[in-house]
Symmetry: D2
Subunit: 341 residues, 4 copies
């Protein structure tokens, strides 16, 4: 089956290529890039030398079964209707179809949504939550990296009403690749290495996406505090999540709830008690690692959730969604385990 | 004035030497080490080549004006009475005199306190809070690194009752040097680099120290959630602190409170609005950088506090305390600014 | 086919597991460890959670088709005769069978060779040089990481007598994982990060191994200067090689020689002119990247050769050798490309 | 005494500010920047908060005693005559006055030298070689970072004719700050971290500068091989230097030669035998660390030389030169030792 990638030179694009070139059932038929059309993919990215990946093309999308869109927000939604009409299944790794309410999109992304009528067509692509809905769909909104880590940690507990909704704080940490391949002082090695900082405090665009999904899980609308931080490493997200538990809820109840939710999941792992997730457990893989502890002194549960931002947080989850959309085994092409050390 | 250092080969010991060898009024007369006695300091630590620092000695403390103790907990308290009797002023960079209640010490450090009768003699060495008390003292409990960052961010706001006590969460991140110079898998480069993790979740020993000082500031005893994390960098602490503000308290009220508390402080800087602290601002210096934001959506203030764990979090603050104890200008020997990049 | 690993908890052992668990034709039937027998592999190494790898066993080797030995030198040779007698094919990732002369082994490894009579049975496992010889063998000496990078860059040029033998200098740089998983001050994050150093200057044990293979290629015995350095990164080797070229040899002659030697090789890539290898091109993969330039000003060729020390420099090459020994496609299980970024 | 800095926002500019604000005899009276004029220095660089450094100005240089020029090549030479006429002493941290031959400048820098008549007025600013000449001068060409490390290792040995001139190879490694503060893919954290590469192979602009000074030391003109590499760290240069020694020259002769040359030098340290320099020994300091070994097997000496590229390789050496020009103690303001860890 032929697939294409728009935005093939960014980090998400490169990661899609890395994973798809090992996928037994698909073939990369189109590598689109507005800035680098004409260049050979292998010369730009020598890690693929010998793979015969061909040249980057401009953004005229040929007939492919599935199109991955790794573009800045706004650009995908403007063209999606055309692709859907041509029978192309679209997996959007950008933000255009994640938020159900176009006004919320407008408020946080400072852009009038280019195609609000398509929003209801899209399914939010966390297979562990929406597997059935994804199977029949032609338009998947692949989640943000921070939302993936946060929602997988919280959703099962919220569905059971175990947590005090207004007490939830998500203190998240990300590697630098999350900022993309664009060069700026913010990603300059000498500014980032041996350094740690918070950014986007109380205004990061993943906030409404997290709130939307957590509110759906809880059955009530509520707000969270979400603070991302930049870690001097390339890949990985770790979310430390705090929530007041409702009266009578014990640590083992919380753990049992997770276990029930994830027992059939190949990519989600609840670690044995006392072993806390490290981002490197997930490095280069589509796996999720979870741990929690109920602090009796404060009545708060502390949850830690770990993913690789470019895999389960982007390209890997997109391929997991593609597998569902195409009716392939969900884990096809995603069997690799984390690189350690 | 002659000073000595016990535990001179650890990271705190090396940092004391680096700072003291530039201090115009003191002379390092004693470098004690149980493990490396007999070795030349310069050969062990070639960054000091040519400084004529002499040999490491065993732990027989000669007559010095001030003794810095950078030893594992328990070892300092067992010998402090003798030193005080000999007229030596003691600045303990360990944990022995930080907690006022020997039972709390016992509970968190799993050790019967070796000299509970000396605890009341000790002053908690954050000059910004206890300057007057430090001036006359012979025994200073130099604070832990996480407590220094946390307390400086919170104490002024708690004194004014601006925060809901039971809502306080401190999500802290530290460079690897905080784990000391001991070699273990936990500090192995290949395990730590390109990795991020939480540790000591809901059981780190700095928790009761933070709670003691914050409770003193608030005038009420309360608990906090404190979660430390390990950042793949050498130095630096950043604490992200969350608290529900009391009704009617605005961001400008909070900021004004900080400004009043710290306007005369040479080492504490409230950054201009919108500029968030980065650990590298403090690298190698005794300075503290603060920022806050009131998130109207959730009613929470988010505070970020940054220090260098080995300077303001250890050796630098110890010298600041020494200056106070000896009646020297408080900033003597501590004028250096952060190394950037 | 069942395979086993001795030394399964070291970095080479973990990398063997990572690669073998994706290999379609083999099954890991034995994970041996003298220090951690009894522990579950997944709990020690959570990146494999859910893979059902079983427990680590002591070093009693069961009947397996192939045994990978990732042990300190001396330990493998002492037991190899027994394994061979039982029909087990042995791939030694240690140093015991790399040197043809037991006296050279003695001189550099300070150990009497435990089984000199087996040395002639072993083939040196660089498939690009010794593919035919490896196919029929039961004992493979898997090369060192530095030798692999150095030999692949130089051997074809030496076979053609293009280089002045006594002019060869190999200035090599390695990531920290090359030092193994043992904790020491030499691998402590705070000592290694933001730091760079040479080590083992003019006395590293890979020197005689390099000299042996280069002398075989050249048809004359000669010495090289070899200096390894430690780079503050986890994986990767880059060797910068200098040699005086013989009269009349042009850059294009050198390049043509490489191209002829490697045109059929799946894992060796000569980059386009002007694109210099970076260690990250190879990260996590079995691929080799080469570039050269003839500096007309000095008459020297500068060669740069890059590998991942744990893959082509250890576990990957061992699996490549296993594939040859077992008559499987040489690249089976080794298709992955470098992780970028 | 008032001093000024042109190019005050680059890394060299920031390092000049860090060091000069602690210098007891000078005052920073002018911070010039073409791109950021009008901004407050402290807001751009919060590590200096509270230092009252004032605003960045455009490039109209006021009357100052000494002007540091940290500008791209070509810009300084075009204006130097004017400054000298006004009695301003100029210390150029760029490349304009390092090469004695304007045609060599033209060849390597692809620019007609803007003021060839001033070249003879300039002294090459390595105090350890040209102390007397620097004392009376108004124009100092502050050396490049790679040349400083290379020349200090080689010059004394070349003066005594101990080395075979055409055998010299300098394999140098630098931290990323050497590439400056400009943002590009080449300095992007995700491209540089966990990566190592050579660059500018056989064509780096520091080559003729090194050759000029080494030829002067040797009394004969000759060429070297010089290959720089990029290390995933911020600061530090380590040069590994190879040279064939002349017949009859022993390691102790070489060492004695160094010791004689540097016995009075405060900033140059020959380490005890067996202790090899690490870049971190010099971190943040103006010190140089040297070691050598004669490899009897090959007849080559291997020299390792270490500096901090921004201090002894730029701002620190510039201040050392300023002290000489102004008749101040040479080490004034440069007493700090390396930050470890």
């Amino acid at each position: 089956m032929k697939v294409g990638i728009l935005g093939a030179t960014g980090y998400t694009g490169q990661e899609l290529v890395r994973l798809l070139q090992q996928h037994p059932e698909v073939q990369i038929a189109f590598l689109g890039s507005s800035s680098s059309a004409g260049a050979t993919y292998e010369e730009m990215f020598p890690q693929f030398t010998g793979k015969q990946l061909g040249k980057l093309e401009d953004e005229q999308v040929p007939d492919v079964e599935v199109l991955f869109c790794a573009l800045p927000h706004g650009l995908t939604a403007a063209r999606t209707a055309e692709w859907l009409k041509r029978g192309i299944k679209v997996i959007d790794l950008g933000a255009d179809f994640r938020l159900k309410d176009p006004e919320v999109y407008h408020m946080w992304y400072k852009l009038e949504h280019p195609a609000p009528e398509l929003i209801p067509e899209a399914v939010y692509g966390i297979p562990e939550l929406y597997r059935k809905e994804i199977r029949g769909k032609s338009l998947v909104a692949n989640p943000g990296c921070f939302p993936t880590a946060s929602i997988l940690g919280l959703a099962p507990l919220l569905k059971k009403n175990f947590l005090a909704l207004n007490s939830i704080i998500i203190d998240a940490k990300s590697g630098v690749s999350g900022a993309g391949r664009g060069a700026s002082l913010r990603t300059h090695f000498s500014e980032v290495n041996e350094n740690f900082k918070a950014y986007g405090v109380a205004e990061h665009r993943h906030t409404p996406e997290i709130e939307q999904q957590l509110s759906l899980a809880a059955g009530h609308s509520f707000k969270v505090s979400f603070t991302p931080h930049l870690v001097p490493m390339i890949r990985g997200i770790l979310a430390t999540i705090y929530a007041q538990v409702e009266d009578g809820i014990s640590e083992s109840t919380l753990r049992a709830c997770w276990e029930e939710a994830y027992q059939e999941e190949e990519f989600v792992h609840i670690l044995p008690e006392g072993i806390w997730p490290q981002t490197k457990f997930a490095l280069g893989s589509n796996h999720v690692f979870l741990q929690l502890k109920l602090d009796e002194r404060t009545g708060r549960v502390i949850i830690v959730s770990v993913i690789d931002n470019l895999v389960k947080g982007a390209a890997g989850q997109a391929i997991q969604n593609m597998n569902l959309v195409l009716g392939l085994p969900e884990n096809m092409g995603l069997e690799g385990r984390g690189l350690w050390p």
